[in-house]
């Protein structure tokens, strides 16, 4: 397992290749459907960032520079005024395909964690901006939650618990590189190979 500390450098990213197993350490941010829509509409496509969102914008820029977004909608328990992640596996990433390339560029992300892989636009963005896509094991939510050591904060809780942005500190968060910064995608490869096998049955 390759140990990675967040924030990450371009050099660390360039050393990763498809198939590598990594353990992430540091602060990451959960962000899924509503969060990506929010990033695009409020920051990226907006001529001027609304005053009400300026502070959050600043906070997010600090967390995400060289940082990591996790496609995840956790189950969260409140214990003595503290939050705890009870179950926190990845959600399907392809839904963020229309937004992900611009979000990677805007914040200077170095990694996106999710499941199921992403498409051509994200693959190109990973190559151009030196980032990777990391695949966590879908459904393995109780086990993955063990690597979440602390819930530090939450933003936009009004989106609902699954859709809110949770700032979490992780230790040895396990994932596999399936899109690297050299233009390789395990998803593309498996799809092409399985297509050939399928065609023989048609």
């Amino acid at each position: 397992m390759i140990r990675l500390n967040i924030p990450m450098t371009d050099e660390q990213i360039m050393n990763l290749k498809v198939g590598d197993v990594v353990g992430l350490n540091g602060v990451i941010l959960t962000a899924r459907d509503q969060a990506h829509k929010y990033f695009i509409e409020t920051f990226i496509d907006s001529e001027k960032i609304p005053e009400s969102e300026a502070e959050l914008h600043q906070t997010l820029c600090e967390i995400l520079r060289g940082g990591v977004i996790y496609h995840c909608g956790p189950i969260v328990k409140t214990i003595d005024d503290r939050w705890e992640f009870v179950a926190a596996g990845p959600t399907t990433s392809i839904r963020e395909e229309p937004y992900q390339d611009r979000v990677i560029e805007y914040f200077g992300l170095k990694a996106v964690i999710g499941k199921g892989g992403m498409g051509a636009r994200t693959l190109a963005a990973c190559q151009k901006h030196r980032a990777v896509y990391l695949h966590a094991v879908g459904g393995a939510a109780s086990l993955i939650a063990q690597s979440v050591k602390e819930v530090e904060d939450v933003y936009k809780l009004e989106f609902g618990v699954p859709e809110a942005m949770w700032k979490i500190r992780v230790e040895n968060f396990p994932a596999t590189v399936t899109i690297d910064a050299h233009g390789n995608s395990l998803h593309q490869k498996i799809q092409e190979e399985s297509r050939k096998i399928l065609e023989a049955y048609l």
Binding site: G73, K77, A87, T92, A140, F159, Q191, R195
Partner: protein
């Protein structure tokens, strides 16, 4: 005369409205969210043994099996996406659907508070999460009137009820599909061979996105609506439960073998295990329509049953 009066007094008149299943439904939700049925765990264990040691597939299945153990031991959800909450209630004549619905709702709200369920119900117009899994059409509850033969034979009281529960995650729901035969692109005609081709295509299209290795429910016939419901209902069958229709039993076996040669593998990482089971059902159709619906269930195949018989509760997965 005196004797008859006496015997009437000892037979308790059955009143289904006195029965409160709320705490038992809550226990059904807890079990279903935190533990997998034995047949599914066994299929995953066998798959793990089959995969090449130290391959991504083997490592992923080992991780999945470890998660299953941990979730059970800690009584925490196997997957954070506790999905669409689907109940099927089988009850005899005399029960009130409104009473049972109220009890199921109460149990669902409580299970959400206790973090066995994620607050997962969103208003489609406003985007607001209801916070307790109650909403328009949520949870899904379907009622069926039945007579449980075993109870009818052993008791005068017709008070046997069963509730089946499935927690169906969104990742797998989103890769479900519906085909209309014929389909020239897939060279699929209006026959069982055509059905097999579209099922394989659906598995290929899903790749790892439905959290492979999945279980594939297939509905043949019906209309667009009933066809998909039939597909989903297949998923309540156990993996080792043989299909009563011989042609479909053969088709299931053939498709299971072929699907696992696609080499999509667990999570789409490649490998020998792409699906754990294929479960097919058929219904009549009209001459103009020939629908095939495919319901994909992730490896975290969370289904369970609650039985209520003569005042006793039992659970099965």
């Amino acid at each position: 005369m005196r004797e008859k009066e006496h015997s009437l007094k000892t037979v308790k008149v059955f009143n289904p409205r006195e029965i409160d299943l709320t705490k038992h439904v809550l226990e059904l939700i807890r079990r279903t969210s935190t533990d997998l049925p034995a047949d599914v765990v066994s299929a995953l264990e066998q798959a793990h043994k089959r995969e090449k040691p130290k391959s991504a597939a083997e490592r992923t299945l080992a991780f999945i099996l470890e998660n299953i153990k941990l979730a059970k031991a800690n009584s925490t959800p196997i997957c954070q996406d506790t999905g669409t909450v689907i109940y099927h209630v089988y009850m005899p004549f005399g029960y009130s659907m409104l009473d049972i619905t109220a009890q199921i709702h109460e149990a669902t709200v409580k299970a959400t508070e206790l973090a066995y369920l994620r607050p997962n119900t969103v208003d489609s117009i406003t985007g607001q999460n209801s916070g307790n899994n109650i909403g328009i059409g949520s949870p899904t509850i379907e009622f069926h009137e039945w007579e449980d033969e075993t109870v009818l034979q052993s008791s005068l009281l017709r008070n046997s009820l069963r509730i089946d529960l499935m927690l169906k995650g969104g990742g797998c729901e989103n890769v479900g599909a519906q085909y209309s035969l014929p389909n020239s692109e897939l060279k699929a005609n209006r026959d069982l061979e055509g059905v097999k081709k579209v099922v394989l295509d659906a598995i290929y299209q899903a790749q790892g996105r439905g959290c492979a290795p999945g279980i594939i429910g297939v509905g043949i016939g019906g209309d667009r609506g009933t066809s998909m419901l039939l597909a989903k209902k297949q998923l309540f069958r156990k993996l080792d439960d043989p299909n009563p229709i011989p042609e479909l039993a053969d088709a299931e076996e053939e498709l299971l073998q072929k699907a696992n040669t696609l080499k999509i593998g667990p999570m789409g990482f490649g490998g020998m295990t792409t699906v754990l089971g294929i479960q097919m059902g058929a219904m009549h159709r009209i001459p103009a329509s020939y629908f095939i619906s495919i319901a994909y269930m992730c490896w975290a195949d969370r289904r369970g049953s609650l039985f209520y018989r003569d005042g006793r509760i039992s659970f099965d997965a």
